[in-house]
Symmetry: C2
Subunit: 246 residues, 2 copies
């Protein structure tokens, strides 16, 4: 802290699934009044989070793009991956803390819900004991996806299981077979493995692939009707529950 200046608050703001009017009223208010705005993106891209708030930021807002040093070029299992990312999150944290120390409020744009598989969590755990941090929950990408299918996802006592496509195939197949309703995230290059696991679990014909849920280029297809290949990053697979319904 810098003398008598009151520390600014760092807000982790959930943007929801992508359409601007699906963010919360609180998020909308914070973004339209933002002094400093920070967001993650891949180098050379505008970034989905930043794109979602296009036209909402005040002209005076100062932008801080946090560019991932690595995404899929180094495998997760390589120790360099963790080291690079840890350094990156530390650097981002230091910058956000310096803004807070100067008394500036910072809005960190978070796709979906900040506490649900979000990069902001890595900043949050590093910041929370040293600066005022507030989290604004958001509509998750999976809510956007199941809404896009036009079919309710969980009924009565249905068990919902949320899986990452990065898990081993055997693990995926076993857990899929044990769930009533299913969400699979992080599809991308794991799509063929996820297909095999769904077949083994007997769920392939009930699975839907939702790409870019609630965005302009949204696509909703039965998985069985899609071709092979790499699914975009913003794709989610949904298998709807079939529980009790009067």
């Amino acid at each position: 802290m810098n003398g008598g200046t009151k520390a600014g608050t760092i807000y982790g703001v959930g943007l929801g699934p992508g359409q601007p009017d699906l963010m919360s009223v609180r998020a909308d208010r914070l973004i339209r009044g933002a002094q400093d705005v920070a967001f993650f993106r891949k180098p050379g891209r505008q970034g989905h989070a930043r794109k979602t708030v296009q036209g909402m930021l005040p002209e005076s807002a100062v932008e801080f793009a946090m560019e991932y040093p690595v995404t899929t070029e180094i495998p997760l299992s390589d120790p360099r991956y963790n080291a690079l990312l840890a350094q990156f999150y530390s650097d981002c944290t230091a910058h956000l803390k310096s803004l807070s120390d100067k008394g500036r409020d910072v809005v960190v744009l978070c796709e979906g819900d900040p506490f649900f598989y979000g990069s902001f969590m890595h900043l949050y755990t590093r910041l929370k004991d040293f600066a005022p941090v507030q989290v604004v929950p958001g509509i998750t990408g999976m809510s956007g996806a199941w809404t896009a299918t036009g079919i309710p996802v969980t009924w009565g006592d249905d068990v919902l299981c949320v899986l990452a496509g990065t898990l081993p195939e055997d693990d995926l197949a076993r857990r899929m077979g044990d769930a009533d309703a299913l969400v699979v995230m992080k599809i991308g290059r794991n799509i063929d493995k996820v297909r095999r696991a769904l077949r083994r679990a007997g769920l392939y014909d009930r699975a839907w692939l939702v790409e870019y849920a609630c965005m302009a280029n949204q696509s909703v297809t039965r998985l069985a009707d899609t071709g092979d290949g790499v699914a975009p990053y913003f794709s989610i697979i949904i298998v709807h529950g079939q529980g009790r319904r009067p």
Copy 2:
């Protein structure tokens, strides 16, 4: 349809976890412009959904309270339960359809997210082929709950499992033991069974009880620090994942 009148749209609008500024911008706009507003409640109560929009409805809005004929007085296993509820949902559907036929738009207030364990789903499936229906996703109650704990819920490849406290104890314990991160909903009178299942799964000391997340009377406690007895309807148990974090 009534002659040349254009059918009105029935909107299932997610209100989110309970604070008015945590509903989406789209939900806020629809509610403030509502012609007809429908909501579920227990007989003799104002109803949480209706309470959440207090002060937002236009004076001209026509309200339609849909009062559950039965909640916990008859066990779920009793065939009369299903018959009573089926009749109730049919009656509600008929009324909403008649408003749509007259060209009126109807906003149905839904706590949380409409397609995630919501009563609106029972209207939706009966209406969707006979009237224009649109669903506005919302922040789930569980997002509100994990945000309230101040701890991120899922990291890396964590598997999230969402369970209903109404399930048998053995089933709860087994599934709890197999999850990385855990949400237990529908606690209420199942709280003691849920406690036993969490103990059997070795998760009791990591469990948080969140009551009335994001409402004025919110309470967040480690489950181990709470007393025995019935938890309120709006309570959710969270066990946070401990997955990969650089």
